[in-house]
Symmetry: none
Subunit: 526 residues, 2 copies
């Protein structure tokens, strides 16, 4: 909400995280999810600095429709000794076509002199020139003052001159950055208070988590008068990460009573944070505040019995406000309820069959220990329920054997070829398929072999394929989890396979995906 | 150090973490590591409450020799309506034989009345009686006042009476616990200040991370006068975890200038934290403050150019003080400086070869657009540098062809078999390998084929394997990225492969991993 800016930089500063590499499509998908969260600003990247970010802003113009959030482009002040009007990177910022531009500038005297290698006066001129040029071009300008807190401690007067220069040139917000992340909350409070009193500028905070205090520092800044907070979803970022935007927003909203995000959007916080971690492929952190899978999970002992008396005595807030839920790890009530819900969704009557629920729950729990993930594979759970309710009802075909060969000569491109042998409708079928990978080849062969008895299979398509190596402490002993999404052109469903052999895990998920598609179409077993 | 108690509760409160299950031997091993860290107190568990903790204290008497730390036993005040001298759990605390006992007591009126189901007066009497009984038996007593902050907000007078009662009965420290973890630093500061001013007791803090502020809250407590901090290594604990003891200690030591741990012990912080995560089998968190693998890793190109000038401008402290080190990551954000730094790390002289840096930079940027991620694959960047500096210098062998077959009958387990044909040292070699997956089989075959000319390969081992499907919007067109970690038993390195075919991507990363290992050993091309 505009009175307090919630500014997301997952796509720019978050992408600095070790091992995190986002494609342009990933970035567009995350921007859409951030808009669902109703953050105020989404920093998309640095146009002109690398081809990927330039492409992102080009594609965003046509492919990204934001309902609430405003897209911002990030860039730096012009080079020393030139003019903003002639600077190519400043021009690229304008060409990105966003209404908001966030400029990074130096505010620490040693960084100006030793890293930027220019004079203190020229640095101020670069800020003045670039901000006023962009404002003249109709942009709202936010200025990220890099290394501000360290700079303030070294030379307060110069740091304040940077803020005044940006403010007077028309920057709407001056964002004080703890770039190296070494601050503690009382230090942030002192500096923010001083800057506001000395300059009258609107102030923001950009914190990193190197002292484990990024969330606390952001809150301290707001308590001292900052009205703009920057952060990243799931705290992604270089080193120890940026301030976790959801933790900061939740602290402001639920602990300080401020309006950070709309309450209805906040109720989606956990699923959105998890959806973003699916896109980044960084496993969700179960101990993450507010939205972690364990954040409201209680273990046995002192608490368990008392929890029944009044749950509010044992949790700091109602977890549903952030889309999370309380779990008690000793109880399997949550599990039973999920399975009953799943059955109801699939139109299966388990009300009179408690033993089916118990058996499926036991199977799910045993499989989860091996690396299954219940939530991500609805269709596999549904198949398990159907097989338990009515054994044989999913046996559309019987597999005799399958094989896939991948080969390459020299350093040439590899080719995969698969053969599947199966029995269906009283016939034995042998089919061969090629593909640009082993799973693709298996999919082609399997589909052909099934089509002989079930031509309805033609409608189905494998549309997504995800792999995660679990427990990878020794490569050869690792267990692989494969998630496959299959579509019939209208809806889609997810199946899972877990095995030591990545191809076997893929095969299991493939078979379940196709069988589920046949059931969904109401195809009878032949 | 005694002026400021660093009190570890990894073995008791940390063990409440979801999925964490410690054997008695695990607990003894962790206690030994905590002693190396030179924490002041190690809370070993709750004797009498469960057989495992009783056994721990028995075995500790004979098997655990602590050089610095003092072992503490945890337990609760006596039951309502009895006497401490007759209470079996209090007796078990004495039998544990520790010089320090940490008692948990209620300080929140609703918890006394609704969870403990006794009167407010009887609760105070339970505290007085139990503390004085244990003190009379020669124990140093610390009192954990549960739900203290919430209790203080609900009924300050009663909360303060609890502190006074414990203090007057002889408790050395009264530890204010944010049991539900909902506090922010300014609230902690307010309450700690009030308690010290109102009671004169020595105060400690026990924080949980539900607002992401456990470290900041612990620091705020110390700034307000607390002289005892509790936490767990790696922040283990129920829900979002306890305060991370090393983050708290490092903040106190390096940011506030207090004596938390001995400097020589602090230099072991990272290896000890990682050794403890090996025992708990909870993967180390790379973004953990101070001791995480990424805590001092730099990615941004913006920074790398200046890092060369003065690393201290870009890090909040010297990482060696906590046993960590600075690393630079190469990525599409990187400029020339990152590549030069990487070359220097590998001992390669590129100062006189600017065209090599430019060529490698262009290659990195182009490949990253296709899905490579170099920050996670140092060894691949180094190989690229070497090949550009001296073409042919990595050509240990020439691959003629490779093939891998994965097959299964019915629903049986799959088997993988690979064949590799290559030329090295003037000979043609054909080798076959089996494995529990296609990459494992290829690794076995490739290693055998190389070993004919380069027996040095035997030392190398594939230790980690990660797969990511990039741009998976249509399964069959997706690009796969594989990261492989190879070890020579002493160090390890990461290589990358990207291809449409998952097996081809794996093959490329495998080959680079082994070639890098040969170079590292100084093996000449034969």
């Amino acid at each position: 909400m505009e009175a307090l800016h919630v500014y997301d930089t997952t796509l720019r500063d978050g992408a600095q995280q070790e091992g995190l590499n986002l494609s342009v499509s990933d970035k567009l998908a995350i921007a859409g999810l951030l808009d669902e969260l109703r953050v105020d600003f989404i920093e998309g990247g640095w146009p002109g600095a690398n081809p990927k970010d330039t492409e992102f802003f080009e594609r965003a113009k046509h492919e990204l429709t934001l309902e609430h959030a405003t897209l911002a482009a990030f860039g730096s002040t012009r080079r020393a000794g030139s003019s903003a009007a002639e600077d190519q990177l400043v021009q690229a910022l304008l060409e990105a076509g966003t209404s908001v531009v966030c400029l990074v500038a130096k505010s620490h005297v040693r960084h100006v002199e030793e890293a930027l290698r220019t004079t203190l006066e020229e640095n101020l001129e670069m800020i003045r020139d670039t901000v006023s040029h962009l404002v003249a071009q109709g942009r709202r300008v936010f200025l990220d003052a890099e290394h501000f807190f360290d700079g303030w401690h070294l030379d307060r007067d110069y740091a304040l001159r940077v803020v005044r220069t940006a403010h007077e040139a028309g920057a709407e917000v001056v964002v004080l950055c703890d770039t190296n992340g070494g601050m503690l909350p009382h230090q942030v409070e002192q500096v923010v208070t001083d800057v506001i009193a000395s300059t009258g500028a609107r102030v923001g905070a950009h914190c990193h988590n190197d002292t484990g205090c990024a969330a606390a520092n952001s809150v301290a800044a707001v308590r001292a008068g900052a009205t703009h907070v920057q952060g990243t979803v799931n705290g992604y970022g270089e080193r120890t990460g940026n301030a976790d935007l959801l933790t900061v927003a939740a602290n402001l909203q639920f602990k300080l009573g401020l309006d950070a995000l709309e309450p209805d959007a906040f109720r989606q916080a956990m699923p959105i944070a998890h959806a973003i971690s699916e896109v980044t492929n960084v496993p969700a952190y179960s101990r993450q505040p507010y939205v972690g899978a364990s954040a409201f999970a209680h273990k046995a002992g002192l608490h368990a019995s008392a929890l029944k008396v009044d749950p509010d005595l044992y949790q700091h807030m109602d977890p549903s406000l952030v889309g999370n839920g309380m779990r008690t790890l000793v109880s399997d009530m949550a599990g039973r309820a999920s399975i009953e819900l799943k059955a109801r969704e699939a139109g299966l009557d388990v009300a009179s069959r408690p033993e089916v629920v118990a058996s499926v729950l036991a199977e799910v729990k045993a499989l989860e220990l091996q690396g299954w993930t219940f939530d991500a594979a609805d269709a596999s759970v549904e198949l398990m329920l159907r097989r338990t309710l009515e054994p044989g009802c999913t046996d559309y075909f019987e597999v005799e054997s399958w094989r896939v060969i991948t080969e390459a000569s020299g350093s040439g491109e590899a080719i995969s070829e698969a053969t599947v042998k199966l029995h269906a409708d009283g016939r034995r079928t042998v089919a061969t398929g090629e593909g640009n990978g082993p799973v693709n080849a298996l999919d082609h062969a399997l589909r052909q072999a099934i089509a002989v008895a079930y031509p309805e299979i033609e409608k189905l398509e494998l549309i997504d394929f995800k792999v995660r190596i679990l427990d990878a402490s020794h490569g050869s002993d690792a267990v692989t989890r494969v998630l496959i999404e299959t579509s019939d052109g209208e809806t889609s469903w997810n199946t899972i396979g877990v095995a030591a052999n990545i191809i076997e895990a893929s095969w299991r998920a493939l078979v379940d995906g196709l069988v589920h598609g046949l059931i969904r179409q109401g195809v009878p077993i032949r």
